[in-house]
């Protein structure tokens, strides 16, 4: 999942980028509204965190600009004043949730997880697909209730496929959403991740959770257990 953090205070921005990065998110950052507006319109983000008090272009205008350009990724606003007028204006401009500064990083990750799941059409934090269970809050994958050891990039790849379950996702889309812009797109790293994921999640080769759609990409093929929707 690729996130955009728009915050003008360098210390808070650094903390956000570090904390979210260590939570297995790919994070890109911007310090002013003008640049943020451009980045949000040009690159495929899965979620944006926007401070309302930005230099050049205000946070509200950035959000309005993105929504006017047809961008639908979820947005969390950060507000320092915390009065309801600010919150309501932000939500009316197109944001989906708000946090008042100072906030706990745990609260931010919980909120953004909820928004990402909601965007993918799931309301509960733990998604079950037969024997395979994925806890999007703890960022752990279980197989027959046993935690599967995944590297950060393996988890990201798997989560992206699961949140887009049933859809065929092209390799380029996965790389765009999981890696920074300077990632070498020609490398076969993705194939390596998918092969390892298959080995770890389906050692007996009786489940086939990730199917390869020739020439198009990959698809997470298991269907969700009923109570996980």
């Amino acid at each position: 999942m690729k996130l955009l953090v728009v915050e003008d205070d360098p210390d808070l921005r650094r903390q956000l980028v570090t904390a979210l990065g260590s939570n297995n998110y790919t994070v890109e950052e911007s310090a002013d509204g003008e640049e943020a507006l451009y980045m949000g319109e040009e690159y495929p983000y899965d979620l944006a965190i926007v401070d309302l008090g930005l230099p050049k272009v205000s946070g509200i205008d950035v959000i309005k600009g993105w929504r006017a350009a047809g961008k639908e990724f979820p947005i969390i606003i950060l507000t320092a004043r915390g009065d309801w007028q600010d919150k309501v204006e932000g939500l009316e401009a197109g944001a989906d949730d708000y946090l008042v500064k100072p906030f706990h990083m745990e609260e931010l990750t919980a909120r953004l997880n909820a928004l990402l799941r909601r965007a993918a059409g799931h309301s509960k934090p733990v998604l079950e697909f037969g024997p395979i269970k994925i806890d999007t809050t703890g960022r752990v994958v279980y197989r027959h209730d046993e935690a599967v050891k995944l590297t950060s990039y393996e988890y990201r790849t798997f989560e992206y496929l699961v949140l887009n379950a049933g859809k065929t996702i092209s390799k380029s889309e996965i790389t765009e959403h999981l890696y920074h812009q300077d990632f070498d797109r020609d490398s076969n790293v993705l194939e390596v991740f998918v092969r390892r994921l298959r080995q770890k999640l389906d050692p007996n080769q009786d489940l086939d959770p990730i199917t390869t759609v020739r020439g198009l990409g990959y698809r997470f093929a298991l269907s969700a257990s009923k109570d996980s929707e």
Binding site: R81, G82, D83, W84, Q85, K87, V88, L91, E92, D96, D97, Y98, V100, P102, A114, R118, S123
Partner: protein, 453 residues
């Protein structure tokens, strides 16, 4: 020096308007008076000349086909050369039959130019002023019957206009002088009236200056009825500004004071032997405490604290905005909202204050309610009554007072307790309103807020 245009002063504007308009009015009045005078003078001349014609008619006799004059005419000026009064009689062919002795030095061409021989209908007198010739003329054509024969004669009496013109010129000079005097007196009077009438405004400016420089703290004394409401409103504004300043000062004092406790705790902890984990917990607790203090004091300082003059806010759109915003944030809970608002609900106060109260209470309903929130509003007995109910776990009776307690003792309050409700309670009490917690018809909590009009 910065020279200000006279248009920036009321007095300047009114004086400029007078200086422009008064001459036009006086000019029109002067023209009217002068015309009326001319008319009456000419009428008098006409009457006089007509009389002269009738006198002539009475004096002459017709014998056979010619007329006979007496030795002496009654009017001596006819006998005196260039006396200014002239007379002539012509027959129907325009042949001069008689002219008065007074006219013998008048040029003949001039006389014939003046006298219109043709175009005069019998019995209809013609009165004319010929300024070029300097003459008034009165002419009458008559027909006399003598032994069955008709004889037509044209009687002409002329008078020099010299006297009349001099008279009129003198009149016009007098008129101009008097109108000029009226203009000056009117301007002076207006300047005086304006200066007298605007004195209260100048006094107001002086008094405001005194307040600005700190010599006075309100507008004192009596002002005229038209200005009094302004000064009363200004006094109210100054008073509310002063209170606001005081509140900022108190808030800053409170803020500094209450922040020092958690700071002291952290400074003390620096010197103690702590494990990293307990130190982190301590810092986190104190940061939380400081955050609540800052938030509470900021909200308290910013909110308006007084009823804005005559301003009122429509409640329904604000509730709808809050509901749609909260519905977005709590989308996962799929809260069912039930809104029952009377028409034209008005809140007499600041929109921001109302949003703060509603936001804090409605968010609690969304947060603690299971799946339903009901917002209702009515206006009864001169107060706005809003109730926000949820179907959550409810609040026990002994906790009801506690959660509404105003935040004065916030720096010692329980950890983790939000400040939203105390901010709401605080704002409501500023409007002399009331808030209470009741049992909800939905089996949860109901917050009932009342604002007097």
């Amino acid at each position: 020096m910065n020279v200000r245009s006279p248009l920036h002063s009321l007095q300047g504007r009114l004086l400029i308007a007078s200086v422009l308009i008064l001459p036009i009015v006086l000019l029109i009045a002067g023209l009217a008076l002068s015309n009326a005078y001319n008319y009456s003078v000419e009428n008098a001349v006409k009457d006089r000349l007509q009389l002269q014609v009738y006198l002539l008619l009475g004096a002459v006799e017709l014998k056979e086909d010619h007329i006979i004059f007496p030795e002496r005419l009654q009017e001596p000026r006819y006998e005196q050369v260039n006396s200014g009064l002239y007379a002539a009689i012509h027959d129907k062919n325009g042949k001069l039959l008689w002219r008065s002795l007074s006219s013998i030095l008048l040029d003949d061409p001039k006389l014939s130019e003046v006298i219109s021989l043709g175009g005069i209908t019998t019995g209809e007198p013609l009165f004319e002023h010929k300024p070029d010739a300097g003459i008034f003329s009165f002419q009458l054509r008559i027909i006399w019957e003598n032994k069955g024969e008709e004889h037509s004669f044209l009687f002409t009496v002329m008078e020099s206009d010299e006297l009349v013109t001099r008279d009129i010129t003198a009149y016009e000079q007098q008129l101009s002088i008097w109108l000029g005097i009226i203009f000056l007196v009117a301007l002076l009077a207006q300047t005086f009236i304006l200066s007298w009438g605007l004195t209260p405004l100048r006094r107001l400016a002086r008094d405001l200056k005194a307040i600005e420089s700190g010599e006075a703290d309100k507008l004192g004394g009596h002002y005229p009825d038209e200005v009094q409401p302004v000064t009363e409103n200004l006094n109210e504004l100054i008073e509310s500004e002063r209170k606001q300043r005081e509140r900022y000062r108190n808030t800053l004092g409170d803020l500094a004071h209450s922040l020092k406790t958690p700071l002291a705790v952290m400074r003390g902890a620096e010197l103690e032997e702590h494990e990293l984990h307990t130190y982190q917990t301590l810092v986190a607790e104190q940061v939380e405490r400081m955050d609540q203090i800052v938030q509470y004091q900021l909200t308290r300082a910013v909110k308006s604290h007084h009823k804005p003059l005559g301003k009122s806010v429509n409640v329904t759109p604000i509730i709808n905005r809050m509901l749609s915003a909260l519905g977005k944030v709590y989308r996962n809970k799929a809260v069912l909202t039930d809104v029952d608002l009377a028409d034209d609900l008005l809140f007499h106060g600041d929109e921001r204050d109302l949003m703060e109260v509603l936001g804090n209470i409605m968010e609690n309903a969304f947060k603690y309610g299971n799946s339903r929130v009901k917002v209702s509003g009515t206006h009864i007995n001169g107060e706005l009554k809003l109730s926000i109910c949820d179907d959550g776990p409810g609040v026990t009776p002994d906790m009801r007072q506690v959660i509404l307690q105003r935040g004065e003792r916030l720096d010692t309050s329980i950890q983790g307790q939000g400040i939203g409700l105390s901010v709401a309670t605080d704002i409501i009490s500023c409007y002399q309103g009331a808030i209470e917690v009741k049992d909800s018809p939905l089996d949860g909590t109901c917050f009932v807020i009342r604002f007097p009009d």
